[in-house]
Structures are given as C-alpha cells and as structure tokens.
C-alpha cells in the first residue's frame, strides 16, 4: 500500500507541487513573521547587552503616579553616588523638548525636537557616526535623519529654542544615530553636553544616572552600595538587569507586531486549508476507479484511508520545509526593507531561525494539511469496490441534505444574533466590535456550509451575461461551473475570505473618512488652526491673534484659552477649563441641552465629566477660579468628547479673563476673508506667525489630507497583508481548474472533435474561472459591506455610512481577472492537448 501511494505521488510531481504551494505560502508567512520578530528581538538584546556592558549600575527615580511632573534624580544625589567607594564614574542622563528651528526660521516638524545629554567617557552610549562629540557649551550634534531632512551639515550654525522660548545658536559638530530609540527617531534629536542640555531643557534633575564601577568591582555589590547611599526614592539596578528590562519592554512591543502579522498568517492558513481540502476532494473523486480497483483486489478501508493521509503528510512535510525556507527569505527581506527605511529596529543582527519557528512551521503545516485531508480521506473509504466496474465515471451529484440545511441555518442564525447583540450592545466600543467579529465568523461558517446549495443559482445568475456574450463556450462554461457545486463552493469561498476582509476594511475606512470629514466640517469650519508646537501646556502670545485681526486677508479670528482649576466638592482633582467664543462660525453639537443658552454664568461639560460628577443640564457646579473666587455656574449643555476640541469644562469666552486673567492663547483659529485665494491667505497668515517660531499653522485641508493619508496607508497595509490570502485562493482556483481540466480531458477532446476551436476551448475555461472569481467576489462584497456596516455601529457617535463603490467594483473586476489569470495555464494545456491522445487515454 505504501508503495502504491509513493508511486502515485512520484507520478504526479507537478500536481503535488501546486498543492503544496498553498501551504508553503501560508507557512512561509508565519515562519517569516517569527524569523523577523525573533531577529528584531535578538538585535535589541544584543544592542542592550552591548550598552549594559558599559554600565555597572543604573539608577532611576521611582515612578510616582501622584506627582505632577515626572520625578528626577537631583544633582546632589549624583554627587553622593560619585562618592560611593568603588564608583569610577557616574553620569546623569536627561532629555527634554527643545524645538530646533529649520532653515525657514520656524520650528522643525510638528513636535519639538528632543534634546539629550551626551555624557563623556566610557559611560557614553550615543553613537556619533560622523564629526565629534559635543565638548564646548556651544557644540551640538544632530541625529542623521533630522540633519538630512532639515538640510544641516557639520559646521553649520543651528538655532534651538530653550524652555523659555529663547533662541540659542550652536555649532553643529557631529551627527549621531538614534539607533533603536523609537521616540528619538520620531521627534528627532539634538545632543548637547550635559550642562548645556540641563540649561536648554530646564531640567531640575536627571532621568537616569549611569555608574561605571572601578576595575574588578562586583556590580551587585556596587548596586547595593549605591542604593544605600541615595535612599529609597530610587530604583537601582545592575547593567545586566537594565538590559533584561529593556529587552523585555521591546519584546512586548514586537509581540504586538507578531500578533498582528500572525492574524494575517492564520487567515492565509485558513484559506490554504480550504484549498487543500478541495484539492484532496478532487483527487479522491478522480481516483474513484483506482480506489475501487484497490478495494476489489483486497485493500481494506483503513488502508485506503491511510494512503490518502500519507499523501497529505508528504505534502505537509514538503510544503512546511519549503515554507520554512520561504519564511527565512521573507524575514530577511523584511529586515532588509526595514533597514532601508531606516526604521528604529536594530540592524546587523544575524537572521534568527529558532527551533520554535521550525517546530511551529512544521506543526502548523502538518495540522492544517492533514486536517484538511481528513474528510476527503474518509470519503475515499466509502468508494464501493463495484465502482471499478462502471464504465463511465459518475457525475458527482449533490443534494442539499437536511443536516446541512439545519446546520447552516443554525450558524447563520447564531451569526446574525451575535452580530445584532454586538450592534445593540451598551456603550459600543472594542468589546462590541469583538462580539461582532465573532458573529461575522459564525455567519461565514454558515455561508461556508450553505454555499454548495447557493452555488447553482448564483452561477446561473452571474452566468447570465457570459452565456449570451460568449456563445457555446460561454454556456458550456456556465454548465461546468454549476456541475459540481461543492467543489465550486470551496474554490470560491477561499477567494471570498480575502474579498470580504478587503471590502470590510474599505467600507470602514470610507465610512471613517466621510464621518470625520463631516465632523471637521461641522466643528472646525475654519481655514487655519494655529497651535503650539511644544504641546498643550505652551501658549501662543495674544499679540499673534491681534496681528491676524489687522490683516486684510483674514476674515475672522477665534482665540481659545485654557486653564486648570478645581471644583468645589471634588477634592484636589484639577480640571481643564477652556473657553468658547460665541461665534456663528463655530458651533459644537450638544448631546444634551443646547449651546443656545450658553451665556455668561453657564457652563458646558463633556459627557464623561458630567457623568462622573453626577450632574446634568440645569444643575450647577462650583468652580474655584484664580481671580474671581468660587463661582457657581449652571450647566447649559453637555457634549461628546470626540466631537470637538473643547475643554472638559467650557465656559463662555467673556468670563474667562475675569476668572483666570489674560492668559495667552492655547489655540487660534483663522478664517480667510471671502474671495481671498487660499495660497494668498496662507502666505499672509504664515508671515504674521513668522516671529513666533513654534506657532504651527495648519490648514484644515492639511489636517484632512494627513488623516486621509493615514487611512490610505492603513488600507494599503491591510491590502498587502491580505494579498497573501488572496494569492493562495487564486492558486486554489488554478489548482481546481487544472484538476478539473485533467478530469475532463475526454470531454475537451470530444468538443474539439466536434469542431470547437482552440481559442473557444480556452475561452470556455476562462469563462468558467471568471464565474468562480465573480461569485466569490459577490459573496465577499456582500458580507464585507454588511459586517463593515455592523462594525461601524459600535462607534459611539453618528456615522455617515459609505461603501466605496469604485473600490468595490475594482475588487469585483480584480477577482474576475484573478480567475481568468488562474485559468491561463490549465486552459493552455487543455487546448494544446492532442485530440487523439486525449481520446486514447483512459
């Protein structure tokens, strides 16, 4: 029996390879994920270990959640550490936001550049790639990326704002690499000597103190000594402890990446399982006679079962092995790509292939392949020996059984029920989304079970046009697509999965886009927003708004201020208090109450604050102001936090100055005068803002396009990751088709003998594949739109539902094309086959 199986496998190497490809791709993706993330983790560990080798002991302030500002290590503590016996050197590290001015005189980027202190001596961990370390107070170094994008070179003078906003000029003496520090890579970094960094950031102490032990000192003992010297407010660790901790932190981060990639890997594997299941089913069907013959000459059911399973095991091992190789390649490729993009991941680490990856790849490959082959193998044992004697292979007939109908109905009902429960769930949000996802999965299983029943009507429906367009080949193709609904169903549903998810994501992004745009229109009907680059705690001088009002290009200017205050009866908790100018241009939406009655003496609260205070519209709150004592305010309205930029406690603008004094602006909104061209207005606003280097001018279109870019990016990433599942399903179509073509060799020969030309035969097969692709896409699009809609219902605000017709149409067309593409090779082979040979073969 073993010999028979192996002989069969050898005889069909190509078929074997094609079947394996689906699993190979899936396993390759999963293995690649592990190779990539393992390599990154190893790189991080190497980097941290190398850093830690320089450090005997590291001191950090203990976290204090109560404190207003992050705790630091004061200078005297550093001095005490330096005096501990056995300490060769101790250096304080600090960092803080210090805006770097670009060549245009405005602060570079949307977030301030981070200043870091560069210690001297062995404790330095900053890697200067060209030039020198900062030595004099007027020296500075920049990270390579910032230097490149801002076009600064060594020797240039750069201007950096200190914490008070004063300009400080430095000579750029070197460039450095931010390495694996994601935060620095994001903000950009400028390095100073420790003293200068302290002066520039205004830091009161250090974020960390690194200690180098004297020659031959024991880090653990030194740690204890340092801890004893500085007291209980600090965490003291050895260098290797620090490395472990940093590595663990970065592993948590990479594990998110792993999880997300694995999710897509699993989707791909599921699709691959469908493809394998289908392939084995077809193979069993085609070998009915062979199987029956074996049974005739005495093979037992168990032997038949075993031989099919053995075949699947061979396929699994082969494809897992190939998948592992592919995974190595993918991992290495992704690493190279990240390097090329200068992502903040450690480069240079050797590609890591751990035993875990190998075992997982083989186990997943085996489980999925053999699991998918179980049912077909069982079907093979049901072949009666008598089948060997039948002359013509019987058409597989399919009848919708009662069990199938009941099961499908159950799943569909459960899916619908769970989804509705998710939609109507209180509060919506992430939990509801997960419930809906579960509902979607259940519903999909229902569709999967039911699909053979709906395949025929769908094929007739979708085939209506091809039947008329393509004449005889067209109608033969429609018949072929209908003839084996089970096979067609599994083939198309593999594609459906990809299309469903793509549609889902495009519906979600389109809806988000439309909804947010509408919100922006409603809540920010302004042309420009001016905010502080250094964040919400910094202020824009009121002079800017005043200057804007003088400009002939500017129509209206809205100033918003912020302050912090306590409420009577709410302890020491501080609330953000903001104001809101009474302006017809700017009218947020109230959840309860109305902004019509938003007059002096009233207040508007964010829903959450109102809830936590236990107040509603009509109630009062007592606000402790700085200049007017405690004032009693009546709640006029509550509003949704996400729907506007207002502070949790918002009072009318007229009152603000009286309560808190003439504070500078937190944000300034500007509308251009009607009829002024956008570029003219923009130039005018920017010219007025020029003296304020950290006043960021953004137009509403910029906000929009930034946000649209982010959505497009997400769509692209998801599309790319789902591409694999889609590719596998297309392979599945090609595989099914080529097996069907093989099975129908006689039929094709007969048709050719009866006068069907080669192109007609090819067209017949292409149309069949086209139908499969279109059916798969139609089901997927329907599911995707429905569940996309459901998912959007979990959002806590009103949405503008959008199904992007252009994208969806594109998916339909691409699916059809993918089908036709999948048919290319099988069709070519079928049309090339010699009629005589085909008729002769049995």
């Amino acid at each position: 029996m073993l010999k028979t199986t192996l002989a069969g496998l050898r005889a069909h190497k190509l078929r074997l390879l094609l079947t394996s490809l689906a699993i190979t791709l899936g396993v390759g993706f999963i293995a690649g994920t592990f190779v990539l993330t393992d390599t990154i983790e190893v790189g991080f560990r190497q980097k941290f270990t190398a850093d830690a080798a320089k450090i005997s002991v590291a001191v950090k302030p203990k976290d204090n959640p109560e404190a207003q500002e992050a705790p630091t290590i004061p200078a005297d503590a550093l001095e005490r550490i330096r005096k501990v016996p056995g300490v060769a050197d101790a250096q304080g590290l600090l960092q803080g936001p210090t805006p770097l001015l670009g060549r245009d005189g405005k602060a570079a980027g949307n977030i301030p550049t981070t200043a870091i202190s560069v210690p001297t001596g062995t404790l330095n961990r900053v890697i200067v790639t060209s030039g020198d370390f900062p030595a004099r107070p007027t020296d500075a170094i920049l990270d390579e990326n910032t230097a490149k994008t801002r076009r600064f070179a060594i020797g240039d003078t750069i201007t950096v704002l200190d914490t008070k906003g004063a300009r400080n000029d430095f000579t750029l003496v070197g460039l450095f690499d931010t390495g694996v520090n994601q935060n620095l890579a994001y903000t950009g970094a400028v390095g100073f000597t420790t003293d200068t960094a302290q002066r520039m950031t205004g830091a009161k102490g250090f974020g960390e103190v690194d200690v180098a032990g004297a020659e031959g000192s024991d880090p653990a003992r030194l740690r204890d000594a340092v801890a004893a010297a500085i007291g209980a407010d600090y965490e003291v660790k050895t260098g290797s402890q620090l490395a472990d901790e940093l590595a663990a932190q970065s592993n948590v981060e990479t594990s998110y990446l792993t999880l997300m990639l694995l999710l897509f890997g699993l989707i791909a594997m599921f699709v691959a399982a469908l493809v394998i299941y289908n392939t084995f089913n077809i193979l069993v069907a085609q070998r009915t006679r062979e199987m029956a013959l074996l049974r005739c000459i005495g093979a037992t059911r168990a032997q038949i079962f075993g031989s099919i399973l053995l075949e699947s095991v061979v396929v699994a091992i082969l494809s897992s092995g190939l998948g592992l190789l592919l995974g190595l390649g993918l991992g290495a490729g992704a690493m190279a790509g990240l390097d090329l993009l200068d992502a903040p991941v450690p480069s240079g680490a050797a590609i890591s292939l751990t035993p875990r990856t190998i075992i997982l790849a083989v186990v997943i490959g085996l489980v999925v392949t053999v699991g998918a082959a179980l049912l077909p193998a069982r079907a093979a044992t049901r072949v009666a020996p008598i089948a060997a004697l039948r002359s013509q292979v019987e058409e597989q007939t399919f009848k919708a059984g009662l069990v199938r109908t009941i099961l499908a109905t159950l799943f569909l009902l459960a899916g619908t029920g769970v989804t509705i429960a998710g939609i109507t769930m209180d509060g919506g949000g992430g939990d509801a989304l997960i419930v809906i996802m579960a509902g979607g999965a259940l519903f999909f299983l229902g569709v999967l079970i039911l699909s053979p029943v709906i395949m025929r009507p769908l094929a007739s429906f979708v085939g209506w046009l091809p039947r008329r367009l393509f004449g005889v080949p067209g109608s033969l193709a429609v018949d072929n697509a209908r003839r084996n609904p089970k096979r067609a169903a599994t083939t198309t549903l593999a594609l459906t999965i990809g299309v469903t998810l793509m549609t889902l994501i495009s519906v979600i992004t389109a809806t988000t886009r439309a909804t947010i745009n509408a919100q922006l229109d409603a809540q920010f009907p302004v042309d420009y927003m001016i905010s502080e680059q250094r964040g919400p705690d910094s202020r824009i001088p009121r002079a800017l708004a005043a200057a804007l009002r003088q400009s002939p290009e500017v129509g209206s200017v809205i100033q918003m201020q912020r302050a912090e205050a306590q409420l009577e009866g709410s302890g020491t908790e501080k609330f953000q208090v903001g104001n809101f100018p009474a302006s017809p241009d700017f009218r947020p939406q109230a959840t309860t109450g109305s902004f019509d009655g938003f007059v002096p003496g009233t207040v508007a609260l964010v829903d959450g604050t109102a809830r936590s205070l236990g107040r509603k519209v009509g109630d009062t709150i007592q606000l402790k102001t700085e200049q007017a004592g405690t004032v009693t305010l009546k709640i006029a309205a509550t509003f949704d936090r996400d729907s506007s930029d207002l502070a949790p406690i918002t009072i009318p603008q007229a009152e603000f100055d009286r309560y808190f004094g003439a504070l500078d602006d937190a944000a300034v909104y500007v509308n251009a005068k009607d009829g002024v061209a956008p570029d003219v207005a923009r130039r005018a606003v920017e010219a007025i803002a020029q003296p304020y280097p950290t006043a960021l001018v953004v137009s509403s279109t910029e906000i929009r396009s930034e946000f649209e870019d982010a959505l497009d990016m997400m769509l692209m990433i998801f599309g790319g990751l789902l591409g694999l599942a889609i590719l596998i399903s297309v392979l599945g179509i090609a595989n099914t088709l080529s097996l069907s073509v093989h099975e129908r060799t006689h039929e094709s020969a007969l048709l050719r003998a009866l006068g069907l030309t080669r192109p007609q035969l090819r067209r017949m097969l292409s149309v069949e594949a086209l139908l499969l692709g279109l059916i798969g896409a139609l089901i997927g699009i329907t599911l995707g739109v429905v569940f996309g809609w459901s998912a959007m219902q979990t959002l806590p605000f009103d949405i503008l539902f959008r199904a992007p017709a252009d994208l969806i149409l594109l998916f339909l067309v691409l699916s059809g094309l993918a089908g036709v593409l999948a048919a290319l090779l099988p069709a070519r082979r079928a049309s090339r086959a010699s009629i005589v040979d085909a008729l002769a073969s049995t």
Binding site: Q392, E395, V472, E747, L750, A753, L756, T757, L839
Partner: protein
C-alpha cells in the same frame, strides 16, 4: 458538391464505374516516434470511401485501424500521403481549418465518453450545430429523433441513459449536422449484443434512408456484416476487402489474415 471523380480503385470499380467518393486516401503513411523507437502504424494505404456507403475497417489489434481513421478525419497529422474529404485536401490544413472541417463536414462516434455529462440528450445532439452557430433542420431533427427512438428521453442527462441509448444519442448527434462522412471507432465495443444490434441497425438505416456515408472500425464480424463493404488492415497495410459481407465471410477472411 463532390465533383471530383475518384481515381478508379479496385473497390470502387466493383460497385460502379462512376462512383463519388466522400473520402480518399493516397499513400497514407504514419510513423510514430523516431529512429529505433519508430512505429510504422500505416505504411502507405490507398483507400477510398464511396459516398452513401457503409464501410467497415477490420484487422488485428495494432494493425492501424484507429490510426487510419484519425488520419482520415483530420484528428491526427499524417507522415506522408494525402487525404481528401469531399474536395478538400486536408493534410495541409491548419488546426483552425481542420477544426472548421470537422465542425462542418465530419461526424464522430467514439467507443466511450461520447456525450457531455452536463448536457441533456437533446442538447448533446444539437451541440455540433450550436458550435457551428447553425440552425437545426427541424425536419431532419424530428426524423433523426424518431429513427433513434429517443423522443421520450430527450431531456435526460447521459448518466440517466443506458450505454446503448448513449451511443444512439451519439449517432444522432453525428447525423444532425449532415456531415459528408461519419467516423465511428468501435461504436459497439462497449455494448451488449442487443444494444449493439440496435446501434448497428440504426447506422445502416441512416445510410439507406438518409444517404449518409459511414466509416466504422470494428472487431466484431457480426457488426462488420452490417456494412456494404469491409476492408482489412494488417501491419499498417490494406490487405483485403469484402463486398456485401456476411459474418461468415468476414470471419473466414480474418482467419486467413491471421494465418
């Protein structure tokens, strides 16, 4: 339609001196493979088939019967020699032209796998016309259906028909497009004697009543006796022929050949 007078061959002369030929083969040679592995399936066969006649081809297994038929029908290429169907020399035709020739002028009945399983009997019968984009001659269709005796089975799928019925559907399909010649390779090979007889009677009927030309390969002397003429092949050569054969004369000739 068929203007070309055939070269007077022994077979033709014995029936009538001015006979028209549906298919004529001259010096037909077919070699499979090359060098040492070369198989001479046909070694220069000269044969013609009269229009409106029912001819059987017989010979031992491997004598080249199927090969001859495939070459005559344009299904296979010939190594040397010429084949003329009607007035068309077919050995130089392109694949496309050959396809059109088969579509318009040649009918087939095979030993098995004659019908498309997805189509009903009627759809199978009309298939060649559909492919050619021609309208069925309704009178002919009715006549063929009645002759085949399948009127109550027209809407059945092949899997619901017996082997004999399937073959009769195949014959009906071959007849419906009024081809110049029908080639049948062991059409009764898979049938029991009763179904075989049905099909053979029907074939002869269509020659007599519809004036159809039929060339049939068979191993069965009984089947051959339905034909007007039997030609015998051995080792790729035509070695003998019989006019107005009976099972006994066919058997005698076969025995002589094998001796």
């Amino acid at each position: 339609m068929i203007r070309r007078a055939a070269r007077p061959s022994v077979a033709a002369m014995t029936i009538t001196t001015d006979v028209r030929h549906a298919v004529v083969a001259k010096g037909l040679t077919k070699i499979y493979g090359q060098g040492d592995a070369a198989v001479h399936a046909l070694r220069g066969v000269d044969v013609s088939f009269a229009t409106g006649a029912f001819t059987a081809i017989m010979g031992p297994s491997g004598s080249g019967k199927s090969t001859l038929m495939h070459c005559l029908a344009g299904l296979d290429t010939v190594t040397e020699g010429s084949v003329t169907v009607g007035d068309t020399e077919i050995t130089r035709l392109s694949d496309k032209q050959l396809t059109l020739l088969r579509r318009e002028r040649v009918g087939f009945v095979f030993q098995a796998f004659n019908l498309l399983p997805t189509l009903t009997a009627e759809q199978n019968i009309r298939l060649p016309l559909e492919i050619a984009g021609r309208q069925a001659d309704q009178v002919l269709f009715d006549r063929v259906i009645d002759t085949v005796g399948l009127r109550d089975r027209l809407s059945h799928k092949p899997s619901e028909l017996s082997g004999g019925q399937q073959q009769r559907v195949a014959v009906a399909r071959a007849l419906i497009s009024k081809p110049q010649v029908i080639f049948a390779d062991e059409p009764t090979g898979n049938l029991d004697s009763r179904s075989g007889t049905e099909v053979l009677a029907f074939l002869r009927h269509s020659v007599r009543e519809l004036g159809q030309t039929i060339v049939m390969v068979t191993h069965d002397p009984g089947a051959a006796s339905y034909a007007d003429r039997v030609i015998f092949l051995r080792d790729g050569l035509m070695v003998s022929e019989l006019i107005e054969p009976t099972p006994q004369t066919v058997l005698d000739t076969l025995l002589k050949l094998e001796a």
